[in-house]
Amino acid sequence: MRAALTVAARELGGYFSTPVAYVFIVIFLILSGAMTFTLGNFFARGQADLVPFFSFIPWLFLFLVPALTMRLWAEERRLGTIELLLTLPIPPWAAVVGKFLAAWAFCAIALVLTFPLWITVNILGDPDNGVILTGYLGCLMVAGAYLAIGAALSAATKNQVIAFVLAVAVCFLFVAAGSPIVTEFLSDRIPALAEAARALSVAERFNSFTRGVIALRDLVYFASMIGFFLFLNAVVIDHRKAD
């Protein structure tokens, strides 16, 4: 675990010594803020909560998180540093977990920087801060699931554009699975699949967090999503080190 944390610390430092971090954070803050106040009708709703903000997060992350993960392994292959990283005396999973943790911590930093929204809503009204906190936890869970998916796909291809497009597509599947369009379509035709699609959906799980509910099954869902894709990532890296 110590090796994983050392890798994570290096990675996180790497984000901030390149423009990647600043571009990501600025774009994220602008888009999330803009969507909350325009599309989300933050003022017109007349309610002191962050629901308009949270409702856009799975969709915003859908594009921003794969932009973060597409370079995770592809860049190491391009620079040849993968040969260095994987000949250090650490098990491959430590490198996989380290990279994931760094990206996750980075997403957490970006989420923390949306605190002006939280201050605003507390000045304007009297929101339930517990619900807001679980909402943020839900955002972090969604980010973790997307990151694990994106990282595994980045390991599978040398090409950053392919990694990005595939990650967006796979993440989209997991969000869209719970949307009314998909579930209604499926329940009309194949009812058995509708239930399965809803159970697999990221959006469905995320919504219970934004309502202030931390259910064990939702935590298990996100943990197993992250665990599964990190495992896949480690397997891919182990088998395709040199390609």
Binding site: R2, A3, T6, V7, R10, G13, G14, S17, T18, L79, G80, T81, E83, L84, L86, T87, L88, P89, I90, P91, K241, A242
Partner: protein, 244 residues
Amino acid sequence: MADALIAIERLTKRFGAFTAVDDVSFTVGRGEVLGFLGPNGAGKSTTMRMLAGFMPPTSGTARICGHDVVDQPVAAKRSLGFLPEGAPTYPEMTVSGFLGFCARIRGFRGSEANDRVGHAMDLTQLGGVWLQPIETLSKGFKRRVGLAQALLHDPPVLVLDEPTDALDPNQKHEVRGLIQSMAPEKAIVISTHILEEVDAVCTRAIIIAQGRVIVDAPPKALERDGKSLEQVFRELTLPGKEAA
């Protein structure tokens, strides 16, 4: 050999139908500096990558200090200092930041990590650039950063893929001196295209072509018939000339 720190046995690597390394066996003991020679594409880097545990062999085994690189990868890598081809490093990191990372990941902490980094930078003369991002350095400095990374933990086995590539003549001289000074304590494998280097530092030379070991002898023995090492190399590795 009693004290074989590197033991490669019948190592083979195939990429599809192409055999990059074909049934290579050798051992390297403490105090030996093995020069790994061969034309481009002969399988030098592939052999070194397998030895470093980066590429799994198709068949055969490689051991470092008795640890199999496939079955006990972490133990084998702990005893190994590896300079990959092209000396890759993280370009955005500073020299000391990068070496500090390598020290921490090898389990050194606090003042010991600092001492290790300082010592490695002294050995490779990086003191003047320790706060510079690696991407701003010249090729020669980048190569030495890679070398410093391989020496940092004072490993018993060194595998260096073209350690003097891109260095100027003075720096080449320094690095050769460094290798010679470490030689009695370690088993060292270097690959190179510079034949004079083999004469200068190696106690033994292996010439490899098309994935096979053609010659395994001390450099002096190769030059016996009044031929230069270059003549021998050309005779052995040019196609059509290997009658044997």
